[in-house]
Structure formats: C-alpha cells, structure tokens
Amino acid sequence: MDFTLSEERKMLQETVGKFFNSNYKNIEKRSENVNLPEGYSKEFWKESSDLGVISALVSPKFGGLGGSGEDISIIFELVGKSLCVEPFLSSAVLSSTVLSSISNPRNDLITDIIEGNLLISFAHCEMNNRYEDHYIETNAYLKNDEWNINGTKSFVMNGDDASKIIVSARINGDVNDRNGIGLFLIDNDQTLKRPYNTIDGYRSTELTFKDLKGELLAKDENALKCIIKANSAGALALSAEALGIMQICFDLTLDYLKTRKQFGKSIGAFQSIQHRMVDMMLEIEQVKSAVMLASSTFETDDLTRDKNISAAKNLVGRVGKLIAEETIQLHGGIAMTWEYSAAHYAKRLIMIDHLMGDSDYHRDRFKLLSNS
C-alpha cells in the first residue's frame, strides 16, 4: 500500500500549482479571463500546453505524458484551487477521452489538442437528457454515403470557440435506447451558436445543427462505451476540482474566523462554530479519500471505474453543498459579495453538482453498479 505522493507527483503538483497560482492570483484576474471574447485566456491555455499541463492529462499511448486517474486528479485539484476557466475539461478530458477510446484512435487530433493548436468540444448534453449517457434526441442519417446531423446540443462547454465538435447523435432506435448511437466529428463553423456564460463563470453554448455533415467516429456499443468513459473521466475531473475548491473554502473560512471579532472575541473562539468547522474538515477528508480511490481505479475494468467514480461524485455533491453553504454562512455577509473570492468558489462548488451527473444520479448509478 502506498498513499504517499511519489516524487513525480510532487513535482507535477508543485510546478503546475505555481504556474496556475501566478496566472490566477486573485478573483479580479479570473473575472478578466471570464470576460474575454472566448470566455477564457487563450494565452494561458497556450502556456499550459507549453508547460505540459494538457499533455499530463493524456496517456503516452496517444501522445501524452500522463493520463492516469492520479494525473487527472492532481491537475483538477489545482484547477479547482485556482478556479481556472480554461478548456481543460471540455477539450483535454472529454474530447481527448473520446478520441482515444474509439476503435481507431485519432492521435493526430489529440496531438493538436495537446499542443494547444486545436480546441474540440464534446457536445453530448441536450435540454432533455439531464445526465443520461444514452438519452439522445439529436439524430444522424446517411445520405449519399455522407452523415447528416440534425438537432440541438445544450450546455456545450467552450462550444463557441472550439474549431471542431464531437457530437453524439441517434442513428436508429428510440430516444432512450442504449443502442443505435453514433459519435461524429464536425466542423464548428457551420453550426448555429447561442453562447452564454454559466452562473459560475464558464463559457457554454447551445449548438444547433441542420443537415450538417459529420465524420463518423464510432457507433453502437463502441460509441456508448466512449460516451460513458468520457462522462466518467469528466466526473472524476470535476470531483477532484471540487476537492480543491473545498480545501480553499475551508482555509478561507478558517482565516476569516480568526480575524473577525464579535462580542469581543474572534468568531472562531465560539464552540458551536468550531464544531461545524470540524464537521467540514472531516467531510473534506472523506471526499479526498473517495477521489483517491476513484483515481487509483480509473484504469481498471469499467465497472470498478464507474462505481468508484460515482461514489466520489455522489459524495462531492453532498459534501459540496455542505461546504459551500457553511462557507457563506460562517463568513456572514462578506461571502455574499462578488468582490470576495469565497463567493465564486462556493458558486462553482454548487454548480459542479449540475455537471456530469448530480449526487442523485451518481447514487443511483452506484446502486446499479453495486448490484451488477
């Protein structure tokens, strides 16, 4: 058994941590990036690529330098601590997972992603599919040997700035069938875009396709397998991100409790507050443990992978709510303000439960996988 950080891990953590820190010094700096035309900093993205941060998210088999569950967790814990809005999740995790999991992996595109030259978004969510892997209304049909795609994809992260989009679409069957799904690669220049920011500061887009030509990447069993793996990888990344955020929330709150005085003593001296801080600390340790377990089994069989990731994401949803709400409540008014960073950490922490399956979804999936 070995729970300690290896030297490599420590190095990665330190290097990337420093780099993120120097670029995301404070919440104003983040707001600047949020308000850029693309909703993130292209410059920072390019520098991340140069430093190998994107590469660390991809396995050597596909041209990367990392890609293990632990690599993903290390990077995303730091993403969480800095509240980075760059396309790590959309392009470097979701799309590269699909591109590496299809029967004929597309190392060419993955390499372009790693080098920071190409942004690919994964368009799977729809207005009505909530968090499901297989509920798909968008459809694709073959005509003159060409695939045509029709429909609308919602909540496509970085879907405005991406050059290419991976789209899940139904080839045949009912909206709710597990079979008959295809994955397609399309050029993003002909899509109808409705971009917007999310309440936690990320760029997302609604994309509409009308008889748009697409290249088939995978279909049927392989397609669903890729979607599930991408969504699981995303859920793992988000869980680690949430862990990073929780740690910052705890530290900010503790700092505040030490400095803020009420009735002549620091708020932190009140026992009821101390006990609530212990509850927070304890639950963060639980989340940390669940994320470590999910990371370490990311490369095992699909069942173990998905079960442990669902355990982590379910716990993250429950504990995230506790930490976000307690962070605001224990700060009092100050954490209700835009200019104080805690508000933004709390918002992201809450909204992570609205991405890649909420705590209810993952509890149900855990239940299902535990009994199979």
């Binding site: 968090y131 499901e132 917007y196 309440i199 997302s204 009420q262 409540q329 209700m336 303000t337 609205h354």
Partner: protein, 402 residues
Amino acid sequence: MVIKMNFEYSEKDENFRKEVKDWLDETLPKSLSEKVKKYQRLTKEDYEIFMNNLTAKGWLAWHWPKEYGGTGWNAIEKHIFEEEIIKASAPRIVPFGVNMLGPVLIEFGTEEQKNYYLPRILSNEDWWAQGYSEPGAGSDLASLKTTAVDKGDHYLVNGQKTWTTLGHHADKIFCLVKTDLNAKPQLGISFLLIDMDTPGVEVKPIITLDGEHEVNEVWFTNVKVPKKNIVGKENEGWTYAKYLLTFERTGIAGVPYSKSALNHLKMISKRSLKNGKPLIEDPIFSSEIAELEIDLLAMEIFNLRTVSAAAEGKAPGMESSLLKIKGTLVRQKTTELLRKALGPQALPYLPEQFDEGWNEMPVGPSYAGPIAKQYFNMRKISIYGGSNEIQKNIVAKASFGL
C-alpha cells in the same frame, strides 16, 4: 365535554381577506406583478407605484396605530394582508421608513419629528434607508465605529455603514452612531437621522454573488448633522435599536413566500424530465418535496399560533427567533430543490434577462433563468436580520436559564 380547537378564520377575517384581494386585483398593474413573478429587476418607480396605491387606500402604515394614520390592524389582519400581497406578486413594501423608523418615531420621537417625518413617510415623499451594520459589526452592533462628535449646533459624522439595502434609492438614512467614544460597547450609541444629500455622504454599490446591485456601502466624511436630528436621548440609541429588533414580526417565517416557491417547485418538477419521465414521478425527488411540504405545513400552524397569540396581546418571545430560523431553512430548501430540479438547465446565466423589456429567447425553459441566481441570493436570509446563530443564542439565553 367534546373538545374542539378552531383553526378556521372568522367570517370577519375572511371578509377582510377578500377586501385585500379584491383591492389588489383592481389596483396592482399586471405588468408589475409579472415582473415580480419573473424575478425581474424592479425600478424605484415600480416600488413607488405600489406604495402610492397603498397610501391612497390608507394601508401603507399597516403596522401603525390608527391615531398616526396607520391601520390599527391586529396581528391576524396583518398576517392576512401580508399573505395576500405576497400571493398577488406585489413588490415588497420597502420597510425602512414605514415599518422601521415609523414605530421608533411614534414611540420615542419628539412632537416636531413626528409632525415632520411621519406624514412624509405616509406619502412616500421620503425614501429611508437603514444604517446599522458596519464592516466588522454585523449581528453585533456593540462594536460600531461610526462616530458623531458634538460640535455645538451639529454633530460631525465620520465612518462607514454597509449592507444598506436599496440605499441607492434613498433620500434619508437613520443611523446608529457612537456619540460617547469612551463608553463601553453598546453604550454611548445614538440614533441619528441623516439627509443623504448632505455633503460628505457617499453611496457605493455592493454587487452580490448573484451579480445584482441591491445593497450598498454608505460613507460619511465630515458630515454635519443638525442636533435636532437625534431621536430620543443621546447615548441611548441602543434602546431604540433593540425596540425595533424585538418589534412584533408576524411575517418573519416567510410562510407565503415558501408556499409560492413550493408550488413553483411542483410545477417545474412536472415539466423537468428524468429519463424521459417527469421528475415529480421520481420517488426520491418527490419525497424530498413531500417532507418539505410537511415541514412547511407545520410551520404555518406554528406561525398562526404565534400570530393568534399576538392578536390577543401576547408579545412573541423566543417564537420569533424559532420562526426566523425555521423559516429561513425552509425557504432556502425550496430554492435548493428548485435548483436541483433543473439539472444542467440551472447553469446558464443571462443577467440581461432580468431587465424590463428583455424579450429574447431564453436558454432552456423560461422558468429556468432565475433559479440558480435565486438560490445563491437566498443564502442571505439566514445571515441578515440577526443571523440564525445569533437567534439561537437569543433563545438559549432567554429560555434555558443556563
């Protein structure tokens, strides 16, 4: 000896409810209630339209005794009135002048102050703000730092107030200020009325985590305030502030707000799909709603019991604090379930949609837009007006004899 309790409203009460309802039907502009329903931003004029209507009807000062131009209603009538204006999606009655300063002036003001200020409040001529909180003194008013130094014919005020709700619309502000710098905490505080257009008063917006501007900082730099603007005695402002804090608060549990949010939640849960089926059919989600509904049902009776006792002249004690705590928890829970019900639809944030006249297509269903924002906004209700922690301290101190 068959024993029966009576939970029904009397015929007189029911008639009163009808009167309020009919009046709202008649006078409240549809466009205005639509804005409230859609959580759109209200302008100063929006508030004023409703409050001027109330003035015209003689209902603005619903908390005041009749002899001062108030309604003289008992607690049950106040409760009914409040319930109906919330049900009708009217704007809220901005409370700082009519519900807060008014009663203090009536109790502690000079004849001159009463004669000058009360009619101006009744006519909505003055828009008041509240200047209690300071950075570093939220629930604990004892560590105030804003000072008012006696300069013979005036006080010279310096300092900073914060969390001043709608202060950017206000003409006047009532403040707690330190007049005796050497006094112990809670002593040496005075209750001062200040014109917002006095030189040296500056209002700075605070943007809250949901991106909205509702609260403000108010800065005082060498602001000259005439001596006659003090309410009651110098250094005894704490007494008047406490009077306000313990002032009968029938609506503190926010029951009608939670009821309307619960209905909204049920509606959205019927429309949201989970695996192709309405979310309301999900056994777990519907159970969360059911237990919330039960908590709310119990709280409604708890609230009515308190209101009914108040109508008989029993001042609510720890009940106010308990209702504040439970009321905020229930209301926050409704916003949480609303957010959860939406799933990913809660993510898009289009701040411009809350402006009057916005008529683009929303992202997702039209009800989705304000939900996440509202969830974050409602975190405030367990913090302000005496945080839930402070309420617990109050109850423990008052009731446990520990």
